[in-house]
Amino acid sequence: MGIDRQVAIAASLIALALIPPVAAWLESGLVSHLFGQYPLLLGGGALIGSAAARRHPCGWSAAPALLAGLLALAFWLIPRWIDAALADTAANTAKVISLVLLAGLPLGWGWQQAGGVLRGFVWANVASMLAVMGWLQLSVPSRLCNSYLQSEQAVYGRLLVAAALLMVVGAGAMALLGFRMGQKPKDGQGPAPPKHRLDRQG
């Protein structure tokens, strides 16, 4: 995909998540908020990040960028801050900016330049994080978010566990079929050039 096209898609994903009626609808439910609006904002940021990395590669920064993105995402998954984003416009603005620029963008930037080992490490960690979070949502008897219903929390918890399973099964299937995590999906000509690869740089 061309870099310009990638940025255009990113901009439309972010815009879609923020159109007032769409945003209101997405935020009205826990599941649509976290499995609808969050991925749109994260995906938009990630596409911009990966486009930037293709234009100005900087291999050593892949691991710190991935860590930064995951921590920023973890922050906005804390129930208290999900509630805060719903109750307060300033907090919601902070959420949108962080999900795009502090979570999505570094994740795209880092993933684009990460080698196979780093990608596998991140993949495994995210899968286990999602599984633990899902289990937490399902095992806590009370509501974690004051703004949402308990029934939605149960669906959300199940979806998190399902996403974790899908990530594990997906990675397993890819390994069995001979794909490598470090391989770029489209060119199919082996791993990214060594100068962009963290595991080669050590």
Binding site: P64, A72, A87
Partner: protein, 196 residues
Amino acid sequence: MIRTLSALILVALAGGGAIWWGTGGGLAFTSETQRRIEIAAHPRSLPAVALTDSTGARLVLSDYQGAPLLMEFIYTTCPDICVTLGSAFEQIDKAAAANLRLLSISFDPRDQAEQLGWFADRHGAEAPRWRVVRVPDPANLKTLLQQAGVVVVPDAQGGFVHNAGLYLVDGNGRLIQVFDPDDTDGALKALNALGD
């Protein structure tokens, strides 16, 4: 390698610090916990809103100043948690000192004197010790809920989901502590401490 490592450490410190700050030092992952910590640390004055009780009598929330008051927020057609709240008040009604006042406040605009009366009868609430009231003015109701930190979400069955609790107000009309609906022991202990 060194660049990568130092950047990793910096990111871990900044991100970990943000999460530490965002959870009040790992204590408050939910806004409910956070709300209770904030109220206990900084008691809140409550607005002097006008109330109407199950007999139609009018009063103002500030009339209660001078003695400890325990409040709960309910709606009369609530099938589960408000029944727990009502029973918690029944227990406290029997066990607490004579100067304590109890107030069940409905946030459902559909609750009129008649419905408030049902709730009062069901739980044995008798004025002036325990009144079941509504806030006739919607703007007043909103201010009161906001100040107490009560979030009410309509559910699919025409009812509401709300963060239930027992709200302890001191003699100066300040909300000083929030307890879980089933924590009658904690509420009684705090009430006795206020009475001393």
